[in-house]
Symmetry: none
Subunit: 193 residues, 4 copies
């Protein structure tokens, strides 16, 4: 009855693991790291508390995996080849950002949430840097190609603005002037309407 005879353990494991991470993300985003309990995550996932420890060795471990997955998910959209990157694509990237904010609300919320908590940052900052650094490099190269005198600084400036707008959107989506901000960004960077 009880012992599985199936040979597809691997698939089951992968799926369950994913399910747990998804559930954890939702709860972390809603309650923050400390406010999220393993019990709630388990019941969100529809499994028992104990089973979670079959897949992750600690709550911190779940957070780390959740974050890394989330960051990769978000920031994969910001990779491009600076040499062939066009203004049109730049516009698309900006517009994409706000689409993602809507679709992946939890991922973004947790991203900002984590930026603010020293202890949590320490857990994942190396990994986060691994993800962000190449993106900054891409933008630096792109701005350099465009003739900016200080391309690294401009890349950071641009990144900060995107963060600020995203934060503002996350905090109060209903009152955020999305179209207006997109147009302002276009005008700042002389992009095609």
């Amino acid at each position: 009855m009880c012992p599985r005879t199936s040979h597809q353990f691997e698939d089951i494991r992968k799926e369950k693991r994913h399910l747990i991470l998804e559930s954890a993300l939702v709860i972390f985003a809603k309650k923050g790291y400390h406010g999220a309990s393993i019990s709630i995550i388990a019941s969100e996932a529809g499994i028992s508390k104990g089973l979670i420890y079959n897949y992750f060795k600690s709550k911190e471990d779940i957070l780390k995996e959740t974050l890394i997955g989330g960051f990769e998910h978000i920031f994969q959209h910001y990779r491009f080849d600076p040499q062939t990157f066009t203004p049109k694509e730049f516009v698309n990237l900006i517009e994409l950002t706000f689409d993602l904010l809507e679709k992946d609300h939890s991922h973004w919320k947790i991203y900002f949430s984590v930026l603010m908590q020293t202890e949590v940052m320490e857990i994942i900052q190396d990994k986060l840097m691994d993800i962000l650094f190449p993106i900054i490099e891409d933008f630096k190269a792109y701005f350099k190609k465009l003739g900016y005198e200080k391309p690294l600084e401009e890349a950071r400036f641009f990144g900060a603005i995107i963060d600020g707008l995203s934060l503002s959107y996350i905090t109060d989506p209903e009152n955020f002037p999305k179209e207006y901000c997109i147009n302002r960004l276009k005008s700042i960077y002389n992009l095609p309407l």
Copy 2:
């Protein structure tokens, strides 16, 4: 021999209360609301756990007082008369922001931290709105005077940028291109160098 005078007691209370709030600010900024324990705040202040409850009725009360004090402290600098506000003063305001970020690191950090934690936001959001709303109104009036077609939206856009730059500074002060960003803001708003 004789009882302390009530004046002496008042002094002690005022000082200790301030000490506790200062210590709480540091710990909240470092660990977030849930991560900060009364024990740690007490030991940061060099007093016993119990004493804290002689001054505040709950942890939430400490947070509230900390935040309200902090927000008032930070945002008092952003009040101005839109009718007489000059570009030179606008420049000063921008430069002031980065000075404040340096000087009041903890206050700002906790400000952003709180924006991200739903539960904490609920505790103080009314008070925060009371503080932020008039500032947005001032900027709206100012931008309207400058001829912006959508002054409210511009005020929000500007606020989001300031938040983004501040967040970026807070997260990694050493690599933040402060001068560059100030100059970029000046150019975006056609301000005098």
Copy 3:
């Protein structure tokens, strides 16, 4: 290897819940509500403090369950049909009372203890009234049938006497003149010896 069946879990829960209530009853009876600590109840039950909260949501909850269970247990014996109630049965009821006092010492002790503590009374007084009221009504009807002019007052008088004798028994069982008191009650109510 295999998970426990839900039937097994149910058994464990039922037993442990019962164990906790039994232990709580003993401690409440000995120390009163405020004097009884969760720690002591847990150690009386031979379990950890934490486990108690797996079964009850608060100390007050434990008290409520303890009391309601106890009161129902005690007072179920005092329900009868006033129309068919005989003097012989009345005698039995009186004798039963003292038997119960011996057997359910803790239940009775806590009953009296609770009567005296305003705060505790507030917690369960509605429930207690639900239990006691019909009993008083039964006695009222019975005394009315017997021809008492003020049956409600007599019911209260009788109840008070039973309480007084019980209290006296509980306080010092060894010196309580049980047989004598039973006979005195019989004579007061003209009951058969």
Copy 4:
């Protein structure tokens, strides 16, 4: 200014001590021993917490003194000379009981409250016995003179009834049928109306 020059320390001490005991009695009766805090007692007395420890060495000490004083206060009325005790005086004693219940509600409430808490009882039970025993002896002698075959048992029976009626009155004074119960007692003991 501060050091008293007066020589009437003794009077001040006696008065203050009495004030503290009065206040403690009120609070103990309202909240029970554990529920009553030194702070509340102090503020009921209009003095500082610290001062209480100038007069009593512990909270338990206050309770003990409160109780002994209270019991002496209550039970002084029940001393009489069995040889000269008349039925008329017996009636008076019964009626007095209910008067006292009204006037000294707190004393009585705490008396019953204490009877139920083993730990508290242990603190004062010797003293209480010293007070109660001679009263029981008096009633025993009186009932013996009246011709009761088992005067000690009757004394205990009578005491229990008084306790029961008192308890009933204390618990719910408004619905207690005072006159009815007095008359019933008179009829049971063949006393003049």
